[in-house]
Amino acid sequence: MQNLTRDTFTVKGAPAAVLRNAPARDPLIFIHGGIPGSSPYCSGVHIWGGVLDRLAAAHGVLAVDLPGHGETPAGAPTVDAYVEWMADFLSAAGIRSCFAIGHDLGGLVALELATRLPSLVRGISVVSSVALAPTGDGVENVTLAHPPVPLWTRNSQRWAFEQLSYAPDHITEDFLDACVAAAQQPPHRATAAAMRDGALDNEFIPSLMRAKGRFYELCRGPGIPVPVQVIWGSHDRLGSLDQALWLYRLVASRQTAAHFHVINRVGSFPFREDPHTFHQLINSFCEAVFPHTA
């Protein structure tokens, strides 16, 4: 992590934990995925791994811990609240123009943010965002159905990452240390308790369905107002290539600058399993969208 340091911003009076390098024009904003207190792995800034450092060599990089992750206190466990919080965060960080990269649920947050603030979030990468893909009358996905208990321990998280990966090489001890540390932080504990007590079914899932509905409505109507890149792993067990292509079809129906990329032999964390190719794709898209970054 030679280029990146941990830092804390203040968003609406509460701390927001980030990983960042020196401020630069049109930074890359990284929005992680995972549902706190529900996903069997603990996400946060650590999820991005070494690719942040690679990108930080040529770009401003700012990765956030969403509310309920890392050291950022929990808020309302809804997609709407995440989007609201991200808008407040960008304002607090003094960002006027950026490119947002969202993984999984973070892709949905990036997309809503760009739709709401297109002059601020001027392009997005949506990475393995099963949350956005149409599911139709799909069959149950059992990939994460029976995690070893207790949840969020080292072994349980290792299992989850192995289920979601093409190869286990990226699941290093250092990485698991960070995942276990994230699980033990008060924000995650608080969110997990709330989710168990009904917030998942009563608040989070309904908010996800509403957000998906807004996305599909947007795609039928004016479309996404900024350039979009959809990145998918060839071996993503949570979302098939077919689903990814459907997501891309929706995006591409109204937005000219829409790219679709499949990275081979990676699962649900393409940036971890093939940081080299991921880096190359982010660079070539950013350079095409923001020619001055070349």
């Binding site: 060839s234 290539l241 292509l245 891309y248 591409a252 937005q255 000219t256 600058a257 829409a258 790219h259 679709f260 990329h261 499949v262 990275i263 081979n264 032999r265 080299h276 190719t277 190359q280 794709l281 660079n283 070539s284 898209f285 350079e287 095409a288 020619p291 070349a294």
Partner: protein, 297 residues
């Protein structure tokens, strides 16, 4: 946006085993060889090195970029001994690269040129560092829909109107078919040697008697070789999303066939583009190619 609409300068010439070959060779660095599509002897379209006019100069800023007129196409001589086959096209391309004494190259093949690039890589691995395949129905498994989209143009063959109609139907946005592009096609069509190839392919029916059956035979073992994992070079498959002649599903099938054996395989889709994504969105295509070449150098 950079101005890509510049006509190419005068080309160079090289004798490739008796075949006078027109080519361009610009820039320095990693060698990138661009192979366009189409084939000799078609009277309603005619590719030439001009096909890459939006890419040659831009890519030459970072790489040594070579593009040449394939056997019987553009300004290059017709096949000796009436060998109007894809086998002869591939052999000529390989001998051209050999004659230029290029180091192992990054091949970029579009459409029928994608087939030629792949076949060359499969037959001569030492020649190739990486392969980029662009909207190649010729190479992909499955059903091609060229004839469905382009049969019986509503204008007399060989006219500007006909050429324009064909390329507009290949493309997403008709506006991409500029007067300059049509000029370049008309220039090739007017060459006496090109007219001779039309007489061979259409008049003497070599297209259906020789070219297509031989290509179909070769394609069978080409796909077989890929399925066996014989390629062993990094590949990116790039596709214009709205190509009606080589639909996206064929690109995905090709990618999956390659990716089963090759870790360094990528699939990229460019939106609002038909058969020629490198002409409809040159900036995006050039960035994608530059990134891939740099990553596999």
């Amino acid at each position: 946006m950079a101005d890509h609409r510049q006509a190419l300068p005068d080309g160079k010439w090289l004798d490739v085993d008796g075949v006078r070959t027109r080519y361009y060779d610009q820039g320095s660095g990693e060698a990138v060889v661009l192979i366009y599509g189409g084939n000799f002897g078609t009277s309603d379209s005619a590719s030439s090195a001009y096909t890459w006019s939006s890419n040659l100069n831009a890519l030459a800023k970072d790489f040594r970029v070579v593009c040449f007129d394939k056997l019987g196409q553009g300004f290059t001589d017709n096949p000796p001994d009436d060998d109007y086959t894809m086998r002869a096209v591939v052999r000529h391309a390989r001998e051209f690269i050999g004659a230029l004494k290029l180091p192992p190259v990054h091949l970029v093949g579009h459409s029928r040129g994608g087939y030629a690039a792949m076949r060359m890589a499969l037959e001569d691995h030492d020649l190739v560092k990486s392969i980029t395949i662009v909207n190649s129905g010729t190479l992909s498994p499955g059903v091609g829909t060229n004839e469905v989209v382009l049969s019986r143009p509503p204008f007399p063959r060989g006219t500007r109107e006909c050429v324009r109609w064909v390329y507009e139907n290949y493309s997403f946005a008709p506006a991409v078919v500029t007067e300059e592009w049509v000029d370049a096609v008309m220039e090739t069509l007017a060459l006496p040697k090109y007219q001779a190839s039309i007489r061979k392919m259409e008049g003497e029916k070599l297209a259906t008697k020789l070219f297509l059956p031989e290509l179909a035979r070769q394609k069978r073992d080409t796909l077989q070789w890929i399925a066996e994992g014989r390629l062993q070079r990094p590949v990116q498959v790039v596709w214009g999303f709205n190509d009606r002649t080589a639909v996206i599903e064929r690109g995905i099938e090709l990618f999956q066939l390659i990716a089963a054996h090759e870790r360094r395989a990528q699939f990229h889709v460019i939106n609002q583009s038909g058969h020629f994504p490198f002409r409809e969105h040159p900036d995006r295509f050039n960035r994608l190619l530059a990134g891939f070449v740099a990553a596999n150098s």
